[in-house]
């Protein structure tokens, strides 16, 4: 019996891959010299379907492309900024372009979304990948808020033979979803809280903050809905429009640069296209890197993203 204690998204997903490997010889795991406790089981028990390419993200993407062309379902595992940016052109050429013509089942497991590697500094922060990956045609972009979603996404990786970018937080986080819940990955989002005054839209770690802020706002007699976007692409935009059109105040929360193609841009575009008249505000990182050191909570405070600051901004709109 699994307890819903805080778990890393990567271990939840890799555990499913490990279980899948017991019966499916088509699953292949490739790491850029990056590990996890659960991965050790794959390395030990399925060594012929595991390979470490070394600290070489460009080659990681090229090698997994070749394996996928030979019919394997491949998992490429590396740290988020290096997988998404060091190897961006490899992803574009060998995954985005090629998969328009041929089935290429490559699953990029990118660990370290946002500032989850807080004290490692800006080289290890990843505030760009949502914008970069949603820019590329033919790639699915999955950005879960908890390990339950991450675990359940394993089935999607096997069923859909196209490249996927899987943006995972590095830290253990509590579960938001329940294990017996049916997740609609085609819809791509879920309404976690119902409230008619304000809509909070978030992805990944920020959904935990959104839930917290929604609780705080109750004390101020403000009722917030919380929408968790876990599929950045494809996303059921029609269904999302139907939800958003009911709100006059929309707050977008993401651990990304704002105003540059991330979740906020997705929401702005949607609202414009649907002619929804609403006050939309984005909370994320401004146009500079964060060299300040400290915990994630401190860095959020430092960057104007504390729960209190966001709460005040919501209150000020009334």
């Amino acid at each position: 019996m699994k307890t819903l204690k805080p778990t890393t998204m990567r271990d939840a997903l890799i555990e499913q891959i490990y279980l899948g490997m017991k019966s499916d010889k088509k699953l292949f795991f490739v790491s850029a010299d990056f590990g996890s406790p659960v991965l050790d089981k794959i390395r030990k028990e399925f060594s012929s379907n595991f390979i470490n390419v070394g600290i070489a993200e460009q080659n990681l993407v090229n090698v997994v492309t070749g394996l996928a062309l030979e019919g394997f379902v491949v998992y490429a595992y590396a740290i988020a900024p290096f997988l998404s940016m060091r190897a961006y052109e490899q992803i574009r050429t060998n995954l985005a372009l090629l998969s328009q013509l041929k089935p290429v089942n490559v699953n990029l497991i990118s660990v370290g979304a946002g500032i989850s590697y807080d004290v490692s500094g800006p080289t290890h922060h990843c505030l760009e990948d949502i914008a970069l990956m949603r820019l590329l045609p033919n790639i699915m972009v999955f950005s879960p808020s908890d390990w339950v979603l991450s675990e359940k996404f394993f089935k999607v990786t096997c069923d859909i033979a196209q490249p996927k970018y899987i943006r995972l937080d590095a830290k253990p986080l509590p579960a938001i979803y329940s294990l017996d819940e049916d997740i609609d990955f085609t819809k791509g989002f879920a309404k976690l809280k119902e409230g008619s005054d304000v809509c909070l839209i978030s992805t990944g770690y920020m959904t935990h903050k959104a839930l917290n802020i929604a609780e705080m706002s109750k004390k101020e007699n403000i009722n917030c809905s919380v929408i968790d976007i876990f599929m950045i692409k494809p996303l059921d935009l029609v269904a999302l429009q139907k939800v958003l059109c009911k709100f006059k105040k929309i707050f977008v929360l993401e651990e990304s640069f704002t105003g540059k193609g991330g979740l906020d841009s997705l929401v702005y575009n949607l609202i414009r296209e649907a002619n929804i008249v609403a006050d939309v505000r984005a909370f994320g990182f401004k146009d500079e890197y964060v060299f300040e050191l400290g915990s994630r909570t401190y860095l959020h405070e430092y960057c104007g993203l504390s729960d209190e600051v966001i709460m005040k901004a919501i209150k000020d709109t009334f």
């Binding site: 080659n59 090229n62 090698v63 492309t65 070749g66 490899q90």
Partner: protein, 283 residues
């Protein structure tokens, strides 16, 4: 016994005559394609004609034009996409597509572009961006080995392309993982876009560099059909726990005097008169 030997010798000599004749035809056809699509890279396409001809007509590659995903085919990755226009006439001739497609090159009705993409039957991967082919081929080689398939993976790369760092990530990987079902052919035509490669990043001695990375490496005259055939046949069958590479010493713009040895020949666009004169030179 002696009879068999003589017959083999005679068969080989007939094969070489056919291959040499095909080289001339392919070079002429490639020049004609360049006239129809002047944005194609003619000099780079002329240095690797013998390599393509030996692979496709010399029974080195196993392929089935009517079954592109045939599991028993040898995989051929053309990493130097820019210089692969000379493969178009070969693919048409061996049956990947109709010859009538050739004159449509570069037009709205054609799948034959200035740089080949896998919309062309016979091309396995996206080739326009340099430095990707060897890494993808490593993944294919690894996959074939895992599936216990005996087929080979051939890669054609240009020497200019070897400046891409991703190539060397793949060189390390292939050597370490003993991918002996992988054959890299370097079309060493010695000229990049702006200058001789030795003036850009001199990689000499190339064979020794690959040996240091645990490859079986050798070189050959890339315009000598007999020697090229012998090398490729031997390398294909060699299984020595090492990936294999062949430096084909070639001349950029081979066979056309005014292209050969012009350091800027990569970006030359030939006029109608120049193409006519070049075709006359090919013999």
């Amino acid at each position: 016994m002696e009879d068999n030997k003589n017959r083999n010798k005679k068969d080989k000599s007939e094969l070489f005559d056919i291959l040499k004749n095909n080289v001339l035809n392919v070079k002429k056809e490639t020049l004609q394609l360049h006239l129809l699509a002047p944005e194609t890279r003619i000099a780079s396409s002329l240095s690797c004609v013998e390599i393509f001809v030996v692979l496709f007509y010399g029974n080195i590659l196993k392929y089935k034009p009517d079954d592109l995903q045939w599991e028993q085919r040898d995989r051929f990755i053309i990493s130097k996409g820019h210089g692969a226009i000379s493969l178009y006439p070969i693919l048409a001739d061996v049956g990947y597509f109709d010859r009538a497609e050739l004159p449509k090159i570069g037009t709205k009705d054609s799948f034959l572009g200035g740089i080949p993409d896998p919309i062309i039957p016979g091309f396995e991967t996206v080739n326009g961006s340099l430095g990707h082919g060897l890494g993808v081929a490593c993944g294919i080689a690894l996959g074939l080995r895992r599936k216990k398939c005996s087929e080979s993976v051939f890669v054609l790369a240009g020497d200019g392309e070897l400046s891409e760092g991703s190539v060397w990530e793949a060189v390390m990987f292939a050597g370490h993982n003993k991918l002996d079902n992988l054959v890299l052919i370097v079309d060493n035509n010695k000229i990049g876009m702006l200058d001789y490669c030795e003036n850009i990043n001199d990689l000499c001695p190339l064979v020794e560099k690959f040996k240091a990375f645990r490859w079986h490496a050798e070189e050959v005259d890339g315009h000598d059909i007999e020697k090229l055939y012998a090398s490729l046949e031997r390398l294909k069958n060699l299984r020595s726990s090492k990936p294999k590479m062949l430096v084909a010493q070639t001349i950029k713009g081979n066979g056309v005097s005014f292209l050969e040895n012009d350091p800027l020949c990569h970006i030359r666009t030939l006029t109608k008169e120049e193409v006519s004169s070049a075709i006359k030179e090919i013999k």
